[in-house]
Subunit: 312 residues, 2 copies
């Protein structure tokens, strides 16, 4: 199952000539989830060739202009392209007023339903799941109510080893028990230890998206051990006071959170317009946590399954 993250925008509030404000696509299997939807998101989706119709759910971290202004344009284009399937929007309450008043203004009569899923201030918990994946939200610390999102695969049942079924002519009931980890007793009384029949499912992969936030270790509980953490890094440490004042983080603080949460990899973004060259932010984060990568327009990171050592 493909599990990847593509950066559509990595700038903070003011865009630059090569950095759009925040938007990302999380692709899981055939489905695209959109994380924030800044102005220009639909243009970036076209540029990086994402199907608009495969976007089922949009998650808005908070109601600052550089995180949601792409919604009316994207929705209008989805309608022009003939969408009829529902679009789910997870966001603070104000999103309803914003979209519905836009629709009124232009007399829009979209042919697809918009299903609002309002995230209340301070809400934490599961907001969506299917058989493979769950999405959890948690509050972060910003000037207005703001949430992070965790995409986490579920642990799948154990997988049958090659030939195990045909070697022992296992029944459907026996296969079910084996996948649950049980040993199987054959009709002749022989016990097959589970380890001879199955191996563990791959380790569940996970991605956490954290923007915009001041340094806030309370989130560690949610993001502990994730394969990839996106954490905003608007400023360098020399501007820590400015970061505190604007409820943003420095690159070193992003590294600190990644380190405390023991994540596998850190991805930083939401850069202040003052940084034409992003090396200073990368080096600063790396000095606290390694490996760190820069979020850059069009960058795609695929989460691979970890190879797992099976204890026989």
């Amino acid at each position: 199952m493909q599990f990847s993250i593509t950066i559509l925008g990595c700038s903070s509030a003011i865009p630059t000539k090569d950095r759009f404000p925040t938007a990302q696509v999380v692709t899981y299997g055939n489905e695209h989830f959109l994380l924030d939807c800044a102005e220009g998101t639909q243009i970036q989706l076209r540029k990086y060739r994402f199907s608009f119709q495969r976007i089922s759910r949009i998650f808005i971290s908070h109601m600052h202009a550089d995180h949601f202004l792409g919604l009316p344009g994207l929705l209008s284009t989805m309608d022009l392209l003939g969408r009829t399937t529902p679009l789910y929007i997870y966001a603070p309450n104000e999103v309803i007023r914003f979209i519905e008043s836009f629709k009124q203004l232009v007399y829009a009569n979209f042919k697809f339903p918009i299903e609002y899923r309002i995230i209340q201030e301070k809400y934490e918990g599961l907001i969506w799941e299917n058989e493979q994946l769950e999405i959890i939200t948690f509050p972060v610390k910003h000037a207005v109510p703001c949430h992070g999102f965790l995409f986490k695969e579920k642990l799948q049942s154990r997988r049958m080893k090659k030939n195990a079924i045909t070697d022992y002519l296992l029944s459907i009931e026996q296969i079910k028990l084996a996948k649950e980890g049980q040993d199987i007793e054959l009709e002749n009384g022989k016990i097959l230890p589970n380890s001879s029949l199955t191996h563990a499912a791959p380790h569940p992969r996970s991605y956490a998206f954290v923007t915009d936030t001041a340094y806030y270790p309370e989130i560690i509980n949610y993001i502990k051990g994730v394969d990839l953490l996106y954490h905003e890094a608007t400023f360098e440490s020399g501007l820590e006071a400015r970061a505190r004042q604007t409820f943003h983080s420095t690159a070193a603080q992003a590294g600190k959170i990644a380190s405390l949460a023991n994540v596998k990899k850190l991805l930083i973004g939401h850069y202040s317009v003052r940084y034409e060259d992003l090396d200073i932010l990368l080096r600063e984060a790396e000095s606290v946590f390694d490996p760190t990568e820069l979020a850059l327009e069009g960058k795609k990171i695929t989460l691979e399954y970890e190879s797992r050592t099976e204890i026989a």
Copy 2:
């Protein structure tokens, strides 16, 4: 005085990977005028290195999403960049509701005033002028109230020929009269014909912006003889029925208008997303009117003074 037009976006409603929806900058001297403000306009302004603070006036042709959705982002960024000078917005009435409800939503308290200049349906006439330039609006034919804009230099007074003042030691009053085109009588009774003292000011330059509109020859009265006409050309002639139904024009119709109005050059744009290659539209317009150019992202057209033959 510089008089130029820069294309920021030339797509119709659905953007493509290299075409943003409609926005243009008209630069006259030190001032920038923005024509329409689609989603992504602020990003394009950054890319093509326009100073946001030199944009004094924004003109919105009509309230379809692909012509105004860039306003909240642009205004927010102007505020973040410290703007304090007024911004004038010429647009249909709904623009007030759109911007003010956005400001409420994000608790924006812009440090610069927004001065709305509402263009009523069917209004035609002067909407702004200074000593050199006037801007005139006129209705076009679209599904909702929609206006074109004409930027027209004023005829300047005649210019003194080199050495005319010192050769005859003209007084300030005499210079004034000469610039008005009068002959000058010297104290010794000698009459200096005006043509020996002055030459005509350069021919006033003009630019007309016409989007979105069905074929509508009623506009010719306004755009007659302009140096450059931007006219939408959403479709090719084979889709004329579709153009009529959606109140858009074909490339041939744009050429026809340019020809009837006897303009000096035609610039087409607002291309349907179906045209990856724009040659078909260019060739079609050119078959009716020459010279025609394609509007393309980042293209800048400078209007030069015509050399004028003076009849002595």
